[in-house]
């Protein structure tokens, strides 16, 4: 059986029904473990004090915000090339989740910035590009909402997603050029790769619960996307049945 068979709406709903309990259970488990561990059982950082605890929310949310857009991009491409309705609806389902993750990253970042940099907000490249990403999410969601015909909406938002991705990358580069910032480099990933440099890397005390949290966010995202895609499929099916009733 090819993977594309799951692009059939009915089959997708059934399959998703099977996996959803497991995924959501695992997501809940990881999130609770990671957050409780991080919040209650990790020491304060010698420089950042207790604010390091924010990392368990901030970093996973930031990662998911970007990855949700990547997933939408892939789903849009699949829709454009193979025209499987489920992938278009999955992209639609993922957008609000990505937007919320962006808001969480922005909010926790801002709250963190106040004690660390002495300001809620600075026009740091990473921060700025997140703000732009948020705008892209808003536009994408608004376009879906504005168009009545479902397939037209899928087509247009898919193209918007493609063009938007290119411009998002461009913006990232532009913003980098425009201002050099305050924000942390990618030290977690280096910690994960066990690279030498002990000064910079996040110590394992923080890293392990952080990875648990990241896993929790990923699983949460997957669970939400599955559920929301199911909902979108059902809503579309309802509309289709109603339309048929009206015509008949």
């Amino acid at each position: 059986m090819s993977i594309w068979d799951y692009a059939n709406p009915v089959k997708f709903i059934r399959t998703a029904d099977h996996i959803l309990p497991w995924v959501s259970g695992a997501a809940l488990l990881c999130l609770v473990t990671g957050l409780v561990w991080g919040f209650f059982f990790t020491p304060d950082d010698f420089r950042q004090g207790s604010t390091v605890k924010i990392i368990y929310l901030h970093v996973p949310a930031a990662l998911m915000a970007i990855n949700a857009w990547l997933m939408m991009l892939v789903a849009s491409l699949i829709w454009i090339v193979r025209r499987h309705h489920v992938s278009a609806l999955a992209a639609r389902a993922a957008a609000p989740i990505g937007a919320v993750m962006t808001v969480i990253a922005l909010a926790t970042g801002a709250i963190w910035g106040q004690p660390m940099w002495g300001t809620w907000w600075a026009w740091d490249p990473r921060l700025t590009s997140f703000l732009i990403l948020f705008l892209f999410y808003l536009g994408y969601i608004a376009l879906w909402e504005a168009i009545e015909s479902d397939d037209t909406a899928a087509d247009l938002t898919a193209i918007l997603c493609l063009v938007g991705s290119v411009f998002a990358v461009l913006s990232r580069y532009a913003v980098n050029f425009w201002n050099q910032g305050l924000h942390q480099g990618a030290s977690v990933m280096r910690a994960g790769a066990m690279a030498g440099d002990t000064e910079e890397r996040v110590s394992n005390v923080f890293a392990v619960p952080l990875f648990v949290c990241i896993a929790g966010f990923v699983l949460l995202f997957v669970a939400l996307v599955l559920l929301r895609t199911q909902t979108e499929i059902r809503a579309r099916r309802t509309r289709a049945l109603l339309a048929r009733e009206r015509v008949a």
Binding site: N8, P9, H85, S149, D150, D151, I233, R236, R237, R239, A240, L241, A243, R244, E245, V247, A248
Partner: protein, 204 residues
Amino acid sequence: MDLIATDLGVARGGVPVLEGVGFVLRPGRALVLRGPNGAGKTTLLRTVAGLQPPLSGRIEGAGERVAYAAHSDGLKAMLTVAENLRFWARVFGTSGIGAALEGFDLTGLSDRLAGTLSAGQKRRLGLARMAVTGRPVWVLDEPTVSLDAGSVTLFAEAVRRHLAAGGSALMATHIDLGLAEAAVLDVAPFRARPGVAAEDEAFL
């Protein structure tokens, strides 16, 4: 070259409206589509004109050979009659708008802004546009709306001239055009079975 539609299915707003439509339109012939409001005549014509893809079946001999006149005339209120017409002539790569103006009795109006024309005059201008496209297949959607009796005759003559020159015409209308020689196709029998919503099929 004939215009041939075979087993054509068309949809509007995602809902199939006609299916299994087939006809052959020879050069020199005219075909009139009939059917009640909402039957799908406009949708069929848009499909033939290439503005939307057919749901099923195929159309041959259309494409670049078709000149399409829709419900709305696409006139610019702030350009004069001659400017409007000349624009379309240039777009279609022809020249000389004199014959078209004369054929639809617009010569006296050629310097008026299109916005100041009456509805019937506007419609005449919209039809004159067909004559400057130089295309062999005219696809006309209710061409005689808001025309008075005299203008309908003018229109019938223009179509006859076009047919005599080897062109053909596909028209949707509710009224009698005075073109006795035209074949008639009633689209009502081709109404699509209800509810096989084209793009929603996967969801049913």
